[in-house]
Amino acid sequence: MTELSYSSSELMIINAARLLKNGDVVFVGVGQPNLACNLAKRTHAPDLVMIYEAGVIGAEPARLPLSIGDPTLVSGALSVVSMYDIFANYLQRGNVDVGFLGGAQIDRYGNINATVIGSDYTHPKVRLPGSGGAQEIAAWANRCYIMTPHQKRRFPEKVDFLTSAGYLDGQGGRTRAGLRGQGPVGVVTDIGYLEPDDSGELVLTALHPGKTAQAAIENTGWALKVAKNIRITEPVTEKELVILREELDPTGIYIKSS
């Protein structure tokens, strides 16, 4: 069998797609999460229902959406509702199974920063876009996944600003705040897969073929624990790559390595 070559983005998108179950209602972000969801829908999860924060339910985009409010999401969708309704009736009420999140920083307990770099909010060193829908998705979707390249600056011990709650300080903070969702149950990187242990701390539980635990440890800002029974993810298949490259992102906007 010949070795397939693929970018780190393709590797992450394909592994994220595999986390979705058929029938899941998923709150989709534009870019790589959108590709992961569309790939899942065209492979093992044909009954996936894609919801976009712009208010679109059951989108079946005929072309690659280039913004969260792309008109291709609307044409042929099941329903379009106001933003208040999407956040209240769908997300807050508990009608969303899966949320995808990203951010500039993800810390030891899966907390996310997408707001400011540096400790002073009022005089930001680097101002990031902010929450958008992420704060509520992280709190209220039944389960969340994070997709991010595995780089030390993206994985600090503690986030500079808590935009979206992971497991907070790991001591039952989610339960105390009465959050309905489970929180970030998995982090897909270009090296492997992190999952929370019983205390909520993210530990390395899987590696992509050919990657090493050492590389993951070196690219993480805290002393990353490695699970005893670490597994190797299933190899990327030609079918997945063909769908991504030929059907979903033919000009390679999101599948090139970042």
């Binding site: 913004s67 008109p71 044409s75 042929g76 956040f87 929450s131 829908g133």
Partner: protein, 300 residues
């Protein structure tokens, strides 16, 4: 009552220095024509509220119209950073007030419903509560649990672009309907711009599609292509190339100035702007029809 007036007149009549403005539209139907008219009229010290400031507020901030921005996601959608607003915040040149999308939209929902605030469930992401003292908590009198509250937002003026309206301001819109209805009801004055002005009979043929009734509208303006580089579902596509181009333009003060000189100050109105865009862009943004099935309301 016929409320049809030119956009320049509507802006000078209803948008004043120091007003709080909500230019509605989540990616879709963003009222760029009205934004450009505000810049041309030199209106300043505005408080600009929008879930996503988008390019429209980047341009208003660049033109010196804003004192403050209120937002929940400050990026160039699908591209990256919203450079001008971001830089103004990093340098402390504008004030800002920040929410999550749900917080921002809940503020409008409260404003639209005539309520003082809206409750929301907790998210445990407490840093924004600390950063923005207007996000507070109250005890739910029924369960005894704390809920988050945000204050009503009642903008001095909302600007909403729609696909079609009659001369009285009864408006049909479809596609992504983000926060248009909420901002329309929340505002003290409401300027509508419309791709098409139609007979009242067209509106009455499909009353479920009327999100805004004429009697809350201050002015109706017929402005085709008012949303470019945003889009109007079924009328023209989003100009994603321009959103990418803005990423480059907004890197330098000279390029920003020359853009505003050429495309805002240098044109009289939206018609001149659209003609100036030229055949190639106009053709690229055309969309093929995809009609809905007609519904039967019945004769009673």
């Amino acid at each position: 009552m016929n409320k049809l007036i030119p956009l320049s007149e509507a802006v000078s009549k209803f948008v004043h220095n120091e007003d709080t403005v909500y230019a509605a539209g989540f990616t879709h139907l963003i009222p760029f024509a009205a934004g450009h008219e505000i810049i041309r009229q030199g209106i300043h010290n505005l408080v600009l509220a929008r879930a996503t400031p988008d390019l429209i507020y980047d341009q208003l901030v660049a033109a010196g119209c804003a004192r403050k921005v209120i937002f929940s996601y400050m990026g160039n959608p699908g591209v990256g950073s919203l450079r001008i607003v971001r830089s103004a915040i990093e340098k402390g040149e504008v004030e800002w007030e920040e929410y999550s999308h749900f917080g921002m939209i809940s503020r409008l929902q409260a404003g639209a419903a005539g309520l003082p605030f809206m409750p929301m469930n907790q998210t445990a992401a407490t840093h924004l509560e600390r950063a923005n003292p207007r996000i507070r908590r109250v005890v739910d009198p029924y369960s005894g649990q704390e809920v988050i509250t945000v204050p009503a937002l009642n903008p001095d003026v909302a600007i909403v672009h729609v696909q079609r309206a009659d001369a009285n301001g009864n408006a049909h819109l479809w596609g992504i309907i983000g926060e248009q209805k909420e901002s329309a009801f929340a505002a003290r004055h409401l300027i509508l711009t419309a791709e098409e002005i139609v007979d009242e009979a067209v509106i009455r043929s499909d009353p479920n599609r009327t999100l805004i009734p004429g009697f809350i509208v201050s002015a109706v303006c017929h402005v085709p292509f008012a949303s470019h580089p945003s889009y109007a579902q079924g009328y023209y596509d989003r100009d994603n190339d321009f959103y990418l181009k803005w990423d480059k333009i907004s890197e330098s003060n000279e390029a920003i100035k020359s853009y505003l000189d050429e495309w805002v100050y240098g044109v009289k109105d939206r018609e001149e702007y659209w003609n100036k865009l030229g055949f190639e862009i106009q053709t690229r943004l055309k969309v093929r029809p995809r009609m809905s099935e007609a519904v039967n309301y019945g004769q009673y």
